[in-house]
């Protein structure tokens, strides 16, 4: 028996066509409102602009860089160690390579590092945090969170250094090293959020109706955390790149002759202060990348946390 359905006549006040239009227009409204909120904050717009520029430069590096060949095995001792000029805006390094071109190309491994590390770390960390938080007080909670604590107790850079030095030094292994030490932070974040949300009435309501654990974890609980997760991802993007640069600074990242931001700073450090451009421009690139993602993260935070109302 279906009391609700038989109660009213079989005519609806609204046609399926109108419902479809309604769905589209509310979606457009949401996007428009979100963009308005985001775009009013100058700093988030600066962050977004910086990030877009960095991505553009990295993707189109071979076409954008003035001397694409300089990103590989190239030497030109006639122009070695030149100060910034109109021909070489950022100057040249000790074997005559254009630093601007190498900085642009170095953005590629930096971004790949960030994307791959976060791509591995976020799903894993978030899933474990969700499960542990929802199972708050039972054994899955204890097991997951104590393992998390162990990983967090070891200093990040030391652990990454240890892993990267045991493995062969290259970009892939440095990404593995950073991933291993980064996931616990997402587990912690999501754990603290979900262990408090599990007692909300809407979660109870779904449980009482007989919804599956999968539905409760991924449809009821997880969507409430997109704000903090995206914010942390954007801010972490900068820090992962910074950590990647630290690893490559000690020779554990991208190997020469391929350009890495950290490697370039390390190589140039021998020639300070006279040939300052060799350090300053790659270092500046690191600062701008980290700052850009941080500002974007702040903007996302404001946007996504306000939406809850």
């Amino acid at each position: 028996m279906n009391k609700v359905a038989t109660n009213k006549q079989n005519t609806l006040a609204i046609s399926p066509e109108e419902i479809r239009k309604l769905a589209i227009s509310s979606r457009i409204d949401m996007v428009r409102r979100g963009w308005y909120k985001f775009s009013r904050n100058t700093l988030s717009m600066v962050g977004l602009g910086t990030v877009l520029l960095i991505v553009f430069l990295a993707v189109f590096a071979p076409w954008v860089a003035p001397y694409p060949a300089h990103a590989g095995p190239f030497t030109d001792f006639a122009h070695a160690g030149e100060a910034p000029s109109s021909a070489h805006l950022f100057g040249t390094d000790m074997i005559g390579r254009d630093i601007l071109s190498r900085v642009i190309f170095a953005l590629r491994p930096a971004l790949i590092m960030g994307v791959v590390v976060l791509g591995l770390v976020v799903p894993l960390g978030v899933f474990l945090g969700l499960v542990a938080g929802y199972a708050h007080g039972t054994w899955p909670d204890t097991v997951i969170m104590r393992i998390t604590d162990i990983f967090i107790a070891v200093p990040a850079l030391v652990l990454a250094l240890a892993i990267a030095s045991v493995l062969e030094p290259n970009l892939t292994n440095s990404m593995i090293a950073v991933s291993v030490m980064w996931w616990p932070w997402y587990t912690r974040l999501v754990y603290s959020l979900s262990s408090s949300l599990r007692n909300e009435d809407f979660v109870r309501s779904a449980e009482l109706m007989g919804a599956s654990n999968f539905h409760i974890l991924f449809r009821e609980i997880l969507p409430n955390f997109w704000g903090p997760i995206f914010t942390k991802m954007s801010i972490d993007m900068g820090f992962v790149i910074l950590l990647g640069a630290s690893l490559s600074f000690v020779g554990l990242g991208e190997q020469p002759p391929k350009p890495g931001l950290g490697t370039m700073v390390a190589e140039g450090a021998d020639h300070l202060p006279d040939q300052w451009w060799m350090v300053v421009f790659p270092a500046l690139a690191i600062v701008i990348v980290v700052l850009g993602f941080n500002l974007l993260g702040d903007g996302l935070h404001d946007l996504l946390s306000e939406e809850k109302g």
């Binding site: 009391k3 359905a5 609806l12 309604l22 979606r27 909300e200 009435d201 809407f202 009821e220």
Partner: protein
Amino acid sequence: MGAFLEAIDLKKYFVIGHEGTVHRTPVTVKAVDGVSFTLQQGETFGLVGESGSGKSTIAYTIIGMYQPTAGSLLFHDLDLFGKGKTRPLALRKQIQIVFQDPGSSLNPRQTIRQILELPLRLHRSSSDLLTEVVRLLELVDLPPAYLYKYPYMLSGGEKQIVAIARALATSPSLIILDEPTSALDVSVQGKIINLLLRLQRELDLSYLFITHDLSLMRNVASRVAIMYLGKVCEIAEMSEFFTHPQHPYTQMLLSSIPVVTEEEERAKPVKVISTGEIPSPVNVPPGCSFHMRCPRAMEICQRVDPAMVSLGEGHTVRCHLFEQSQ
């Protein structure tokens, strides 16, 4: 056929800690301690009590959130906690709940459509969920434009209406209303109450209405049970309850309802000064749990917990005063 819903000596104790180092004895809160009542089909059964009297625990036990410590709950003569730990879907569908705080009972990240679709998806075989959702909105007088709104775009009253619509989605026969209006403005309260009364008429629903607001109870309930510290003090028909309250605690509560007119003032029982606070449910006093605040307490009240005494016509009281007169 037996009663629609029957609670028999229902008990729910919560273990809140342990005492002693060697012999660890659990410390329990007797949230519900031997409650019996019956609910008839189509009626609104009111459950009144102060905070901590165990009325919400009863609601959560009926809905299946808690397993009772002892006693039984029969729904159409079927034990709600009979077989296995999980309640079958067919039974879940029959009993639904509307929570007190509409701000917390709706997922802030889901549209009204998603919120209403969940129970439909779990309990119905209908293929056209969207039509069903629009029908539900029509049933509670919300425009279809609300389909794609998020809860934060709605007022408190509208959120509660959506929560009611969600409870209706499974075509239940019993809805537990856990203080459904206490988080709302008085003007909105009226609207919600009228909606609930209309739905009850149209869909032949039974309500278990939980509140601490006696004036509100007077407008909705057909029978009322008064709870004090996990026990029922008095159960009576609505009119009987307000005109001839028998238990000293009921008299105390009724005499403290604020009124506007002289007429109403005369209709109230003689003023009973309320003294003291409700004792902690961890440390319930021996004998009748109300004896320390009772103006008519006797010597026996401190020792013996009174039993339910019937005064006829569905009016029962748990007090020594009436045991003697019999």
